[in-house]
Amino acid sequence: MAQTAVADSETGQSLKELARRNGLTAAGRLPGIAEYTRHLWSYRHFIAAFANAKVSASLGTTRLGAVWQVLTPLINAGVYYVIFGVLLNTKQDTDNFIAYLCAGVFIFGFTQSVVQAGAMAITSNINLIRALHFPRASLPIAISLVEVRNMIASMAVLIAIILLTGEPITVEWLLVLPALVLQAIFNSGLALFVSRLCAKITDIRQLIPYIMRIWMYGSAVLYPVTFFSDRISGWQLALVEANPMLVFIELIRHALMENVTLAASPLRLWTYAVIWTAFVGIGGYVYFWRGEKGYGRG
């Protein structure tokens, strides 16, 4: 009954040859990374539209809507201030602890929310992935764009707090921009990495809250960096000081605040930041691309 196979044996060629002669490609073939990047670039409008859609879908159900973009970081800073600034009094001899704390909380929160959302990037959009063909990297990248947008609101709040606590405006404030750009690229790489990892091994998602908490304690968010140099030394201290989150937080504190004790010289911090951004940005992208054809399966 299978007449198609007969039809081809008439012409005496195998199905594989027929496919090659007509320029057909095997379904599920992985494109090269350059081809993939070009393809991704042609989907930039989709990425922007998807990021916008995500924001309006998540805020659309609340009454205050976009006000939450400013309220969330404010409440966040308030909670940490009450616990660590007032109750536990970890400020020790840090000048302007409120500004110091808020810079840490907001910068860490930027990466934290990207990781949390990135873990769900593939799994929560599985239907979209199964229905339509687009470069899958669009999803984690769109998610990091959403967080960039939230970060802009957070930065406005942070700058207001810093001004209110009596810090002067200096030329160094301009350094905030390159620092945030580096962090945004770092975050995108992280989102790409986490989204593939969590799509493959769903168990990781359960661990993310703990990983992020440990990371936060190691990034001098809630207490001064001197906390580390007072207690550890040698390779342990070097390890803590190479922590990318600590580096990004320190860069912002250095840019916005006057009298702040840094973990290392600004030059070293900038070098670390550039190296981490290149490593995580490129590494995450390549890792995600390698798995392109596996998303949506199973």
């Binding site: 009954m1 299978a2 007449q3 198609t4 196979a5 039809a7 081809d8 008439e10 012409t11 195998s14 199905l15 594989k16 027929l18 496919a19 007509n22 320029g23 057909l24 490609t25 095997a26 379904a27 599920g28 073939r29 042609s42 989907y43 409008h45 989709f46 539209a49 998807f50 859609a53 309006s56 879908a57 998540s58 659309g60 159900t61 239907n127 979209l128 199964r130 229905a131 339509l132 063909h133 687009f134 054809k293 949506g296 399966r297 199973g298």
Partner: protein, 257 residues
């Protein structure tokens, strides 16, 4: 005539095996059993294999509309997903396709919290249209879907739509683009008679625009109306492949048995 026909999809000894994780008999997935597995280092019994498609060969040509028929669980939807590149084909076989086949299924949900118009925009961009093209086509797509026939539904979130309306909108979005290969999974079965007629017309138009359409449906009528060729799959094996009338006749005698 055979020389002029351009193949668009070729299945060459395609086997598709599902590997299902974590679906085991009750009791085998209890914490204690999992612990025992970890301790003894035994390979997880949780991976089960389902051989859904067993060595399928066919060639589909440009301009054809092919109906896939078969009883429930015969591997029709699996085959479609493999053609779309969403499921891997086992080693030794392959499915080749022209361009990127698009799968359109009733399960394909866009973003439920967003309005119909936003979903049209997002869906079109996801299919690779430019913003200018999207602007141009949006109205046409909404009109074709007919969701605005009962008031301004296109500006309401998709979660407020009936399942028929949502399916119509999804079909309209996917059908707005020229596809080399369009795969439709039961999509025409939803929607009322009026929309079905319109969508069948659209499938015919898409074919004339030099595409190939695969249609999986349990509605004999919609296969008869749209497809002149049919493939009958049973337990993952092709039982018949040929003109719809012949294949249908065989299939019907099989089902009535």
């Amino acid at each position: 005539m055979a020389d002029e026909r351009i193949p668009t999809v070729i299945a060459d000894n395609a086997h598709i095996v599902y590997r299902i994780y974590g679906s085991v008999a009750p009791g085998a997935n209890s914490p204690l059993a999992s612990l025992k597995r970890i301790v003894t280092g035994k390979k997880s019994a949780a991976v089960r294999e389902v051989h859904a498609v067993k060595g399928v060969n066919f060639v589909a040509y440009r301009g054809e509309a092919i109906g896939l028929i078969g009883t429930n669980g015969s591997g029709k939807s699996t085959l479609l997903r493999a053609i779309a590149g969403l499921l891997p084909v086992e080693r030794g076989g392959a499915i080749y396709a022209a361009g990127q086949p698009s799968l359109l299924g009733v399960n394909a949900v866009l973003m439920n919290d967003l309005s119909g118009v936003k979903n049209v925009e997002l869906g079109c961009l996801a299919m690779g249209m430019t913003p200018a093209q999207v602007k141009e086509r949006t109205e046409e797509i909404i009109e074709f879907s007919g969701i605005d026939e009962r008031g301004d539904f296109s500006s309401l979130p998709m979660k407020t739509y009936s399942s028929g309306m949502a399916a119509r909108l999804r079909f309209s979005i996917a059908a707005a683009k020229k596809h080399d290969v369009l795969l439709i999974d039961e999509a025409l079965a939803t929607g009322d008679a009026k929309f079905r007629k319109r969508s069948e017309q659209r499938v015919r138009d898409l074919r004339q625009e030099a595409g190939t359409v695969f249609l999986v449906s349990h509605s004999e009528q919609s296969i008869r109306d749209t497809c002149e060729r049919s493939i009958w799959l049973e337990s993952g094996v092709i039982r018949a492949d040929g003109p719809t009338d012949d294949v249908m006749k065989e299939y019907e005698t099989y089902v009535r048995k």
